[in-house]
């Protein structure tokens, strides 16, 4: 049964995430210009590259005096997790034809998280599109504003937007913690992420956790099968 868009949990979650994340574009815009990119280059990164972590990595390397090849390399490394999201969303939303190409552009941390946080197929779709497109529009608008205003806009941390992101990701994880096993997977992956942070570039700890989670799934599946075989019919 599908609810109207007004009462849709996917739409509601998508919109609030879009606002919290989109506003952060202001800090990207301001930082990018102060790293030495011009306003147009800054806006092109948000329009075409459109992946927060990769964008910050790109301008971070440039700001540190690195060359643009290294910047593109860092950006590519941080984007690898999007391939994992794409595979999950492919199975979940099953887009066909040209929709795969459009879905790909809107695949980011938040649209993935919003979509997988929903239980109904229609809500998963609404969540993905509203979060993805909503963030895209606001992120680009606020990138432009930040680039034009420069450092005058202040730090979005003072508005607590980073705290909003923490709360949003936890709220999306929460409904999945229905079994002891799910709780254990979450804790193991969170710990793996934290341990990896000092040793690898930002964004990669998420991939480390993905490998750990996939290993649990792979070996847990074998164990589950073995248990099923032991139970007499």
């Amino acid at each position: 049964m599908s609810t109207s868009l007004r009462n849709s949990p996917g739409a509601r979650v998508g919109l609030s995430i879009a606002v919290a994340t989109g506003l952060y574009g202001v800090s990207f815009g301001a930082l990018s210009v102060s790293s030495g990119l011009d306003v147009l280059q800054t806006c092109v990164l948000s329009l075409l590259l459109f992946s927060g972590g990769s964008q910050f990595a790109f301008i971070g390397v440039i700001a540190g005096g690195g060359n643009p090849i290294a910047a593109a390399g860092a950006s590519a490394l941080l984007g690898i997790r999007n391939a994992v999201y794409g595979m999950q969303l492919n199975a979940l939303l099953q887009p066909r034809g040209w929709r795969r190409f459009v879905s790909a552009q809107f695949t980011v941390d938040e649209s993935f998280a919003t979509s997988t946080g929903q239980t109904d197929t229609i809500e998963q779709k609404r969540g993905f599109w509203i979060a993805g497109v909503g963030i895209f529009l606001l992120w680009n608008l606020f990138t432009l504003l930040g680039a034009l205003a420069g450092s005058a806009v202040g730090d979005p941390k003072n508005w607590g937007l980073d705290g909003a992101a923490v709360a949003a990701f936890l709220a999306l994880l929460w409904p999945r913690l229905t079994s002891r096993e799910a709780g254990a997977i979450a804790i193991v992956c969170a710990v793996a992420t934290v341990i990896a942070v000092p040793f690898v570039p930002p964004g990669i700890p998420i991939l480390v956790a993905a490998v750990v989670a996939a290993a649990i799934g792979w070996f847990g599946y074998r164990q589950q099968r073995a248990e099923q075989r032991e139970v007499p019919e």
Partner: protein
């Protein structure tokens, strides 16, 4: 000019990376073992995003106002608060703790 070239290269690489997952044949994703992995992967990725957003700043581990957001959000979720309320409380607690002088 070289900067422009690498901006475009980075953008193309980013798009192709995102696209790869969508081009994996879907019957492969219907395999029961892959389905099981998809389930553990989703939980693991959401937990990782929560942890990374709470404790990391670049390549450094930090304990700052975001931990307050995590605790307040978890408490609100225990009391079955709606999503938007949890997010707003997360923002308010980080902003509030910073006003009080916590990094």
């Amino acid at each position: 000019m070289t900067l422009w070239i690498w901006i475009i290269v980075a953008s193309i690489v980013a798009f192709l990376t995102k696209l790869v997952g969508y081009l994996v044949p879907r019957r492969l994703l219907k395999n029961p073992r892959i389905l099981r992995i998809a389930g553990t992967l989703t939980i693991g990725l959401l937990a990782a995003l929560t942890a990374a957003n709470t404790f990391s700043s670049g390549q450094h581990l930090v304990a700052d106002a975001r931990i307050g957001s995590l605790v307040v959000a978890a408490t609100a979720l225990l009391f079955r608060a709606p999503f938007i309320v949890v997010v707003i409380l997360g923002a308010l607690s980080a902003a509030g703790l910073r006003l009080l002088g916590f990094a």
